[in-house]
């Protein structure tokens, strides 16, 4: 099985998946839909909602403990011999299926240029949103004077 990193080495599989997981749901679905026609027969192995437990490390004693569970949606598909996977926050089963479709498409080298452009646009939107948030946060930085 190939993974996105083999096709888009400059991205890395983790960056592809992380970007898709935070991508706008409607844009994600709209982009994935036409890719299906160019992929081998898709078999859906899993498309469901469920919970992911989120642990945290305690800074006082170093203990790992559970903060609580998060509602997630998950999709596992195969297209020929290639596996595709998606996991996103929330209960949008179509969006997570779209993520799995794009994961497969990238790994198989289907519409690579379009996938790359989509990923770049989404990553850019996410980076811009984070930048704007952090600029607003920076406005609240305290510069204390001591008398």
């Amino acid at each position: 099985m190939t993974i996105a990193q083999d096709v888009l080495p400059e991205w890395g599989h983790d960056a592809v998946l992380s970007t898709l997981a935070r991508a706008d749901a409607e844009r994600l679905k709209a982009f994935a839909e036409p890719l299906i026609a160019d992929l081998p027969q898709i078999e859906v192995l899993e498309n469901r909602t469920g919970l992911v437990m989120l642990p945290m490390r305690d800074t006082a004693q170093g203990t790992h403990f559970h903060l609580g569970e998060i509602l997630m949606s998950e999709a596992r598909i195969t297209a020929g011999t290639q596996d595709g996977y998606g996991m996103r926050r929330g209960r949008d089963l179509e969006a997570v299926m779209a993520m799995a479709v794009i994961d497969v498409a990238v790994a198989l080298g289907v519409s690579t240029a379009e996938c790359l452009a989509f990923l770049a646009a989404e990553a850019d939107a996410q980076a811009t949103a984070d930048h704007d948030t952090l600029c607003r946060v920076e406005a609240t930085r305290v510069n204390m004077e001591t008398f």
Binding site: A21, L51, I70, D103, D132, L134
Partner: protein
């Protein structure tokens, strides 16, 4: 405690539920969206206490219960049981948090500096009554800085450890399903630390505050100073079937460390929860700081505060008292009447004592 099966009241029960729901009217997707966007801190509180993170579900639970928080949390805890657990994410670390607010009351110049983030700490508490006469309250927008705050901030505790103010902890090797989980195993005492911190993470805010406040007022062994308080977003790092670890999104988390002098070092208390709820984590960290060596039955004793801040159990136990207790109460009445009757008989049986002169 005894119970008796009774019949009747079906119509009254049905009508009473209708009466409750009639006050709130229709629940529409718009109402859920409005609650989610207009009351993020309430939604956060409900998600933290229910130990289930999804803003839409929390807003729906609030809409469905008319804001009755205990009912909303119970609804979400119940709904949670219908879902499978897909996986356990990688543990979140303090240094990896996408930080919106980070302050310290212990040190002015902490590494990375202090950012207030979103807070009403320094706001005038003035009710915008003009809104009730038709005006719109328009918040003044933030003037953003030209450069962003660093997304990740260093740990104050790690800096203190480097300066020999406290001992750096060793990292737990338990990950995934090996981390103790109070939703799958009983809470026993002395509690595993993972159980204590998980229980505090899902504890009821008011309960934690009441007991934490008691400790802060002097009914504890240590007076807390906030070492570091963070409101942040944490990545949910999960594993693709091929082994790649990636972020499947972010959730809001709050985290507090409190310190107190302990012999020649600082003692550190810690708490964190899902959602942004800083009162809860400061109070919970205070309880954690005070738990070691707390007298039995005191508010800072682990068993005491963990049992009494579990909101679903405590509210459930409290409201069960309004359900029919006819047999137990009749039994009490019978015992009372019996005692009264015996007392009356014993009074009549006692022969008046004769005075020697008589």
């Amino acid at each position: 405690m005894a119970y008796v099966a009774t019949r009747g009241g079906e119509r009254a029960i049905e009508q009473s539920e209708r009466l409750f729901r009639a006050e709130m009217g229709e629940i529409t997707p718009n109402r859920v969206t409005e609650i989610r966007t207009a009351m993020p801190y309430l939604v956060d509180r409900v998600m933290g206490e229910s130990s289930l993170y999804d803003e839409d579900l929390a807003a729906l639970a609030l809409a469905q219960t008319g804001g009755e928080l205990y009912e909303a949390v119970l609804l979400l805890r119940a709904w949670r049981t219908t879902q499978p657990r897909l996986t356990v994410a990688e543990p979140v670390t303090q240094e990896s948090l996408f930080t919106h607010r980070r302050i310290s009351a212990a040190f002015k110049d902490i590494p990375g500096g202090q950012v207030l983030g979103p807070t009403l700490d320094y706001a005038h508490r003035i009710l915008a009554t003009d809104v009730l006469t038709g005006a719109t309250f328009q918040p003044v927008p933030v003037d953003p800085a030209s450069t962003p705050s660093p997304a990740q901030q260093p740990s104050v505790a790690a800096w203190q450890a480097e300066n020999n103010l406290l001992t750096a902890p060793t990292t737990d090797t338990a990950i995934g399903n090996d981390i103790p989980d109070v939703t799958r195993e009983p809470l026993l005492f002395p509690a595993k630390r993972a159980h204590t911190l998980q229980s505090l993470a899902r504890a009821e805010t008011g309960g934690v505050l009441a007991l934490g406040y008691a400790a802060q007022r002097g009914y504890g062994q240590a007076h807390p100073t906030v070492n570091e308080l963070r409101l942040a977003e944490a990545d949910i790092r999960v594993r693709h079937p091929c082994g790649t670890v990636f972020s499947a999104g972010r959730v809001k988390v709050s985290q507090a460390e409190v310190v107190s002098k302990k012999d020649t070092e600082l003692g550190l208390g810690f708490a964190a929860t899902l959602g942004w709820n800083e009162v809860k984590v400061i109070a919970a960290a205070t309880l954690d700081l005070n738990a070691h060596g707390a007298p039995k039955g005191s508010p800072t004793e682990e068993e005491f505060f963990l049992y009494h801040t579990e909101g679903v159990e405590s509210s459930g136990f409290c409201i069960h008292f309004k359900l029919p207790h006819y047999v137990t109460f009749q039994s009490s009445l019978d015992a009372m009447r019996d005692a009264k009757a015996k007392r009356a008989v014993s009074k009549t049986d006692v022969k008046p004592q004769m005075e020697p002169a008589e």
